[in-house]
């Protein structure tokens, strides 16, 4: 083994090891953040969970409400998954200092050889398609001005995040073709023919005029470039909305089974009221202190926190939201992004100032305002639209509960209906004894 190969192996192990270490630390932090949420039991069978995960995360069923966008997204997604196969070979080559170890191992086994060539061809064709789709996606955000990508919550970092990943994609694909193209050229020069890769073979045939050393350097550049992009992506992923490529799976796995119209019960308040109505009822000691909904992220269910990290920022929820469509401040996507931002801000604070870090901020008030919360009609359009089964409405309801019961921040009209409901059992000021007045007009 040459000195250069050993250096490359060391570089490879260092790069991959460091990337995995850094990424793992961040993933662990996210996991810890989610686990700080309140317990929620999701009462579903394993079959239900797997079915949801396969249909919605893997099969992207809900994406297909917008067929064109779904097809484009599917191309990128399939290509992303398939390209990982090529990564297997890159990893082995990197670790043992070999060159196209699988190709050479399969060279004399006709079936496996054909399979190898077919797979690489498949990857290349998909990659080329993805290249064009990526350009379309960039245009969709910058030139076509699709409305759901123009909302205020996407300004700044989320905007850069979306474009950064798209740029990554273009660079990554370029490196793949550089690697395979230069390698094909070398193969052609040596054996008179390429590996059988149609696309990169074609590029390669145009490069055969270059000296071998240049071709080897180009191949190395493509190989390392590809690897570096993959590792950068891995480290970048947990900071990005692209985290959804992973979290879509657990998030759909843990889909809530209830009818969308159902709002979760608050047993502590149920018991409190029960003891008021029936003095013999003893409030269970396990209730503890009554929490009035959610003021901050950790008052939310872990599922809502997982929702927040899973959000793709696609804005389908916001596009469907009646409040947002009519110019109200509420945007369900912003609710999800704020929840995630709040968790990230707390993590950052803890890292800088120790585990007891507390700022005088909270999700309710400093990130999400009462005005936004009050605009929600609880129509479930956002929940229905979300391609990864997120419920912005659950968070809205929990924050509203705090706003009304804890902060007593309620519009006068609502205070009036609360009073009417308490006194007359109806939202309006009618006496309960008038409930049958309508019958007078029956005959």
């Amino acid at each position: 083994m040459s000195f250069l190969t050993i250096v490359q192996i060391i570089l490879f192990i260092g790069l991959v090891g460091a990337s995995f270490f850094v990424a793992f630390r961040k993933f662990k932090e996210i996991y810890d953040n989610i686990m700080l949420g309140k317990p929620e039991h999701i009462n579903t069978t394993l079959g239900f969970r797997i079915k949801n995960m396969l249909l919605i995360a893997l099969g992207q069923k809900k994406m297909f409400k917008l067929t064109f966008a779904a097809l484009l997204h599917m191309v990128i997604y399939v290509s992303f998954v398939i390209t990982q196969i090529e990564l297997i070979e890159i990893f082995i080559d990197g670790l043992v200092g070999s060159h196209r170890i699988l190709y050479h191992a399969f060279e004399n086994i006709p079936f496996l050889h054909t399979l190898y060539v077919v797979v690489i061809n498949f990857i290349e064709v998909l990659s080329l398609l993805t290249f064009f789709v990526t350009i379309l996606f960039i245009l969709r955000r910058t030139t076509f001005k699709v409305e759901r990508f123009q909302k205020p919550e996407l300004k700044g970092w989320p905007w850069r995040d979306a474009l950064t990943i798209l740029a990554f994609e273009l660079i990554l694909i370029s490196f793949i073709f550089l690697m395979n193209g230069a390698d094909s050229a070398l193969h052609i020069k040596e054996h008179g023919e390429g590996y059988g890769f149609i696309l990169s073979g074609f590029f390669g045939s145009m490069l055969t005029g270059l000296p071998n050393l240049s071709l080897e350097l180009l191949e190395k550049l493509g190989w390392w470039g590809h690897l570096c992009m993959v590792m950068t992506f891995l480290v970048y992923l947990p900071y990005s909305k692209h985290l959804h490529i992973m979290l879509a799976f657990p998030n759909t796995f843990f889909s809530r089974p209830e009818a969308k119209g159902e709002i979760h019960n608050m047993p502590a308040i149920q018991h409190e009221v029960q003891s008021m109505l029936d003095p013999s009822f003893v409030v269970p000691a396990t209730d503890g202190e009554i929490k009035f909904g959610a003021k901050d992220v950790y008052d939310l269910s872990w599922k809502s926190l997982l929702d927040a990290y899973t959000c793709t920022e696609c804005g389908r929820c916001t596009a469907a939201c009646p409040a947002n469509q009519t110019g109200k401040k509420l945007s369900p996507r912003k609710i999800m992004m704020d929840t995630r931002d709040r968790m990230e801000d707390i993590s950052k604070g803890k890292k800088e100032h120790g585990p007891d870090f507390a700022d005088n901020k909270s999700l309710l008030g400093d990130y999400i305002t009462g005005e936004e919360l009050r605009a929600c009609t609880t129509c479930n359009a956002c929940v229905e639209e979300c391609p990864v089964n997120i419920s912005p409405l659950s968070i809205i309801i929990e924050l509203r509960r705090n706003l009304i019961m804890e902060a007593s921040d309620s519009p006068t009209e609502w205070n009036n209906i609360f009073a009417n409901l308490e006194n007359n059992q109806a939202p309006w000021q009618f006496s309960p004894s008038d409930r049958l007045n309508w019958t007078e007009e029956l005959n």
Partner: protein, 283 residues
Amino acid sequence: MGKNKINQLSLSHHFIINQIKTMQYKVPVMSDLVAEGKTPDVIFWVGCAGSFDQRAQRVTIAFTKILNQLNINFAVLGTEEACTGDPARRAGNEFVFQMLAQQNIATMNTYGVKKIITTCPHCFNTIKNEYPALGGNYEVLHHSTYLQGLINDGKLKVEGGAFKGKRITYHDSCYLGRANEIYEAPRSVIEALDADLIEINKCRTTGLCCGAGGGQMFKEDEPGNKRINVERTEQLIEVYPDVIAVACPFCNTMITDGVKGENKQDDVKVLDIAELVAQANSY
């Protein structure tokens, strides 16, 4: 134009089945029945809007007539019915919700209520999905599903009557549609009228809210550039319907206001599916 035609048609129709019209409609009240030692098969849950709101009262009356005409053994809770608590819970006031819900459940469990029908999707959703956690377990039907069942079983015959061939579009109520995935029942009732059911672009899962849910009915809109009911009404009248059919008292109010705002109240009627059936049959 629409209105006059409907009136003309229903007038002639009216004449033929005049006998049925002379029926004396009754509203049995649960406490009276119990005093007489009788048990109803179903409770008609009227709801606050159905009891007090003038527009919704007409829906309550229409549905009561249908129940009477079919000799259904039903009762209302009358003065013992309280708001289900839906607006309180959705506005965020769990205490008020719990008080109302527990009171209703106590009432119904004392009476041994098994089956409930309601003309309000909000009452339907709350009793069906949220009362079980508090010990209230009943079979709950929205009147669209109930009417669909009666039609399918041949118990309820719907004469096309005034609505035959009319352009009717249906506005999905959020609490019936997305919240409980009931999309077809109200449509099948409309289809039984021999009417031309016209779907707008944003229907079923993508139907836009009327703007009333989540306690919005009872307060001013937050600052914005349009009212939700106006936006929704514009989508609905785009298909030039003679009738906008609804299945929720709150949608009814919101869309009726929207139609008035567009000055289209002479051309477009907003009617609940119970009213459609009752009017078609000249009850």
